[in-house]
Amino acid sequence: MADNNQKIVVVVDDSPSLATLFERAIIDMDISLQIFDKTSAAAEYLKDNKPDLIFMNIKMPGKDGLATLKEIRKQPLHSDTLVLMISSKDYAQDRSIAKELGAIEFITKPMPIQVIKDALIKHLNF
């Protein structure tokens, strides 16, 4: 159960190793990590929950991360939810679509753990 000050961070990525990278990154931070390996499960969770930050992979089984972001942006609850893309699809077109959908940053895989830490500190005001 999250305490009052604990930040909630959602990670949508089908890679167990990526999930471990995040688990290592949040050590010493008061963060509750919610990890989803399917965009459909993340979308279901996000119907009723507004995390402090979402990290969204693009190439995913089923609906991809860009389509999922478009879908959740339609909900008033998430019109201003902070979303960072995290993907190896470092293509100008993907960056441009992500930006149009209000993603605040585009982190290119692979990245050191410190890059995740820096993003958490920056966007969660630690």
């Binding site: 990278l21 991809d64 293509y91």
Partner: protein, 303 residues
């Protein structure tokens, strides 16, 4: 027994290549017909759909078809403004492709036919046009043909299709950069800590497993093989595969038959012949049973 086949109407990527030196392989851009009796599924609508459209008009039994678009890059849709059945009232044409809704697909298909890019818009199409909403389950049926879709590694949302016909699985993956993440990891590997290296080692395996899952056990795989290693070095990150990666991945995934597809328009028949010879050598060196062919315009494969 049904009459079932696939036929390549366009095999080029990027742009058409109607040059004498290229016509052994073919000059039209992406379009593959999959047919079972009077049911027709077209994969992509590059310039190859134009001769297909002219030919199918002669067949009185077919007045309905489905077009599954992998994405909306120009080489995959640029035949549509010249696709004659769309302009004839007694035709019914269904479109499917990436998008949140039928409206997304309609907008993407229509965009290239707006002024000032083209003199008439899709509103002049007289056929019964249906843009399909994404299905609740990942499966679409078109008579005896069914297919599922999966995002692949190419700019924007791009689908690969697994098409089930006559008990066979045909994988149509026109645009996909094989193993891009793995290459990116190898490039940055020295910068990582020991802990990060261990995790990225595991991630490389995960990524490869996902690539293999995409095409696993395909009876027929039609896959992006746009570049030679020399050109791939210059164009890494453009969303297309080096044919060597395509062949090796197909072998590892247990694919039975591979058609190297989406040929670079700069490659003439001689250049593609060398690609074929090299691909066959890889298969031989690896003692694989994979059958490998160059996708050529007009080539028909019985299903």
């Amino acid at each position: 027994m049904s009459n079932a086949y696939l036929r390549f109407w366009g095999v080029r990527g990027s742009y058409s290549a109607p040059f004498e030196s290229h016509l052994g392989v073919g000059g039209n851009t992406s379009c593959v017909e999959i047919r079972v009796d009077d049911h027709v599924l077209l994969c992509d609508a590059g310039t190859g759909i134009i001769p297909f459209g002219n030919e199918i008009l002669k067949d009185p039994n077919v007045r309905e078809l489905m077009i599954a678009l992998t994405h909306y890059h120009w080489d995959h849709i640029c035949g549509l403004p010249f696709f004659v059945p769309a302009f004839i009232p007694d035709w019914k044409i269904k479109f499917f492709g990436p998008g949140d809704s039928s409206l997304d697909i309609k907008n993407a298909v229509s965009a290239q036919m707006r002024a000032p890019f083209f003199p008439v818009g899709t509103e002049t199409w007289l056929a019964n046009i249906e843009y399909m909403d994404p299905p609740e389950e990942n499966k679409i049926d078109h008579g005896p043909i069914s297919f599922t879709f999966q995002s692949v590694h190419h700019p924007g949302t791009t689908f690969g299709y697994r098409i089930h016909v006559n008990g066979k699985d045909i994988l149509y993956v026109s645009d996909n950069e094989c193993l891009f993440l793995n290459k990116a990891i190898r490039q940055k590997y020295a910068e990582f800590s020991k802990e990060e290296k261990e995790l990225y080692d595991a991630m490389q395996q995960e990524e490869y497993d996902a690539e293999l899952d995409l095409i696993k056990d395909a009876d027929i795989l039609i896959h992006d093989a746009q570049y030679t290693p020399e050109d791939y070095r210059k164009k890494t990150g453009w969303g297309h595969s080096c044919y060597i990666d395509t062949v090796n991945t197909a072998i590892d995934a247990g694919v039975k038959e591979l058609y190297l597809y989406h040929h670079d328009p700069n490659y003439d028949d001689d250049a593609i012949k060398i690609i074929e010879e090299n691909a066959l050598k890889i298969i031989d060196d690896r003692s694989s049973d994979l059958k490998c062919h160059i996708a050529k315009e007009g080539l028909t494969v019985e299903l």
